[in-house]
Symmetry: C3
Subunit: 349 residues, 3 copies
Amino acid sequence: MKLLKNIWYVAAWSHEIGESLTTRDLLGKPMLFYRKRDGTPVAMIDRCPHRFAPLSMGKRVGDNVECGYHGLQFDCSGACTLNPHGDGRIPQTARVQTFPVVDRHGLIWLWAGDPARADSGLIPDFEHLVSPHLKTIGDQMIQNANYELVVDNLMDLSHVNYLHAPYQQVDDFLRAKHDVMQDGGTLESRRTVASTRAPQSFQPFLADPDAPVEYWLNIRWHAPGCCVLETGVVPVGEPREKGLVRLGTHIVTPVTTSYSRYVYASSRNYRLDDPLADDETKRWQQMGFHEQDKPMIEAVQTRMGDGDLLSMRPILLATDGAAIRARRLLAAMIEEEARINEPAPAALA
Amino acid sequence: MKLLKNIWYVAAWSHEIGESLTTRDLLGKPMLFYRKRDGTPVAMIDRCPHRFAPLSMGKRVGDNVECGYHGLQFDCSGACTLNPHGDGRIPQTARVQTFPVVDRHGLIWLWAGDPARADSGLIPDFEHLVSPHLKTIGDQMIQNANYELVVDNLMDLSHVNYLHAPYQQVDDFLRAKHDVMQDGGTLESRRTVASTRAPQSFQPFLADPDAPVEYWLNIRWHAPGCCVLETGVVPVGEPREKGLVRLGTHIVTPVTTSYSRYVYASSRNYRLDDPLADDETKRWQQMGFHEQDKPMIEAVQTRMGDGDLLSMRPILLATDGAAIRARRLLAAMIEEEARINEPAPAALA
Amino acid sequence: MKLLKNIWYVAAWSHEIGESLTTRDLLGKPMLFYRKRDGTPVAMIDRCPHRFAPLSMGKRVGDNVECGYHGLQFDCSGACTLNPHGDGRIPQTARVQTFPVVDRHGLIWLWAGDPARADSGLIPDFEHLVSPHLKTIGDQMIQNANYELVVDNLMDLSHVNYLHAPYQQVDDFLRAKHDVMQDGGTLESRRTVASTRAPQSFQPFLADPDAPVEYWLNIRWHAPGCCVLETGVVPVGEPREKGLVRLGTHIVTPVTTSYSRYVYASSRNYRLDDPLADDETKRWQQMGFHEQDKPMIEAVQTRMGDGDLLSMRPILLATDGAAIRARRLLAAMIEEEARINEPAPAALA
């Protein structure tokens, strides 16, 4: 699995990582997570370099980890700090690979590449997840599919009119104005329907559910799998600032070529304290993500087998623009990264 | 899996295919089946050419199918008839592969090769399945084994004296007269015991179960996996026309190299309206096919692993004649088909 | 899987093999075991050379085996003795591979190599298993791991202070005197703590559980996977002959590269008739072997994937000496065996 390395991936929700040793497969590797006594999160490969036991089967000793098989201890930098055997000398190679991690916006971000380049300023903006002006409801799930198929699903939102009908269906949506913009390593897809009936998912929260609204659906993608989806409705003629808006968080992290972890949330700007609105969001996430998207994405993976999407020559339609651009942009970034890491040919050295 | 292509395969019993979208893996491919409003059966690859979603997760729109992911529609010829996105233009390559299918003798027959050569006159004769002069009881099952191992089981019926003893056992059967005849792409194996005690499976239906009978067992094979098994007993000296006869239908269709679908039935010329005779047939099919043949054939597959039978150098006995001839005939047909489809070498072009 | 061939492997406990046909995968092969009417055990490949049916699905006919599919019979030498079909001639190649087996010390030993070299004098000494002066409690289990990982676990007993703490933990054990000796194809690792508190596992059986004892732990390895582990405690100053001693039997037999069978027992020289001591042993075997060793060894296998231990460059510590020597000795024996079996190069012939 060729992956982009010098980038931040989401490893978990912040609340999932605590003092106890937690293991999670990510990016094709078994990883160990925990927090130091001061709360700082730590990530390392979950495998002792001595006999390859999972360190997660050991225990915490202060901020260090002790292997449960033969007792070697490692600190948070991955260095071995104790060899209880024989003369106790510590081989120089006794190290576990660690990863830079940052706890931000309620998420644990992991840098998969060169630690020297791990700039937390590169973490995309998910501030809305912790905004006091929004009410956020989220969770996570497994997708038995390649992470790019999950991104495809997000970047081509025309599927809401079929897979998520009638709940998220919007009349005149498929022929609506649709722009795709690129800004460096991010893409944004914007759709607007100037006047339509609000989708069912907004109707309970509108003064007049049947009155015509302007409807918009914008999704912003950060490589390789972090998306923010803004959905809004506002009575026709009113400014968007007065509308009902939901910011959807959709972050997919690859595990294997056909297995991914998917973190999602919905942050709304209306009825912040209304438990009925919370329930409506949870019901939608269960139905839409678990019962509609997941079976479809996984069925697509099954039908594709080991095939690569573009090599399988899919028919491409107008609606595929954003998803295909995201795929090509990501492929170019991975290729560029591999090129830079290659040693210069001898003739040029 | 190298398969014969220009041949009819059985996809299902006719009653299994109705108006609703039905998916079934056959010949290494996911297939979609349904009937048009006029009852005509339709078969196509169960995969949308746009994003590879299973069409079976979509829905019927008249005689067409609408993909459940992004709403493309296809007609029964596999042509895309609706693109709901953007300007609605339909790419020329927007097609699903379809297969000629014929509903005959209570079975759905599927032509796997060049549609132009799909001559329904080539469907082998299974008229007995719908004959009013016979009573037919049948069903189907999965065999976790290569389809040729299932054919081997049928083409070497000497196993009835061991695997199906005592119910189908016949004294003097193994040393009995045994002929194998070939007629084009079909083989027939005929065994006769001039005088013996009828097997238990016939005894309840004979005036004198202990009187000596002539017993015969003929099996006709049509490539690649369609067999008709005629079993009969008649009091010694009487003509066969006066005997009790069962025509067994045994049709195996490959799915993968080690997974097959097996359709079976028994059509008898006696006690047509006797529910006890029906029960006797069902009991035998459950015991003989599900509890005796299936575990044995699947155990053979397990013991063979990925091996090819003839490459594994089995000991060949007199009784293997028909099965080995069927294997060699099928291999030659597949090779011939591949040869014809190959482009002529450049020097000859 | 490259295995040592000209060596005795343990196939089963003696009591597991009786008159009925018993199948067990060992050394990458399906094997059939049973006892002749005179009690002699028999081992052969569990696969008929005719159509590759498992012979274990057939039946005993005297001391012979009849295949359940088409009735061929084989004697205990593997020769076909009956072909019930056609003229009954028996092809010369109609043979099943058999293996020399010996019933000794309560175990069934199987010789995997050249039968002409199967010298029962080469069976390692496990006489203690049937000694009237000891009380033996044993059983067996599956390890979803390569057999060499199970041997590693045994040959590096430093893990008792971590994985088996506190029950088998011994103070000052890790820094204790430790010798590794080689004698031909066997290795012995000896550790002694001159004065310590007895491990919990011995305490209930000592007059004064808190009095200082000499503690020793010696393990002898016979290639490829037979170990005898002697553990003892004696009050400081007393001769070892007066001590409490347990002889542990630990025998691992490879099945596949990541699946093994593990036979274990504990033979003690104290409280021979005390059911509480029996219970203590059983409790320890359940806790130590099934709930501590097995999950750890299997997790190591998972973390290693298809990797070869030494190729993965583990950090090697003082405590790894015996295990690594056992691995290297075994690799050399396998290589030597392969070298001898190779035909001489033509130039030298």
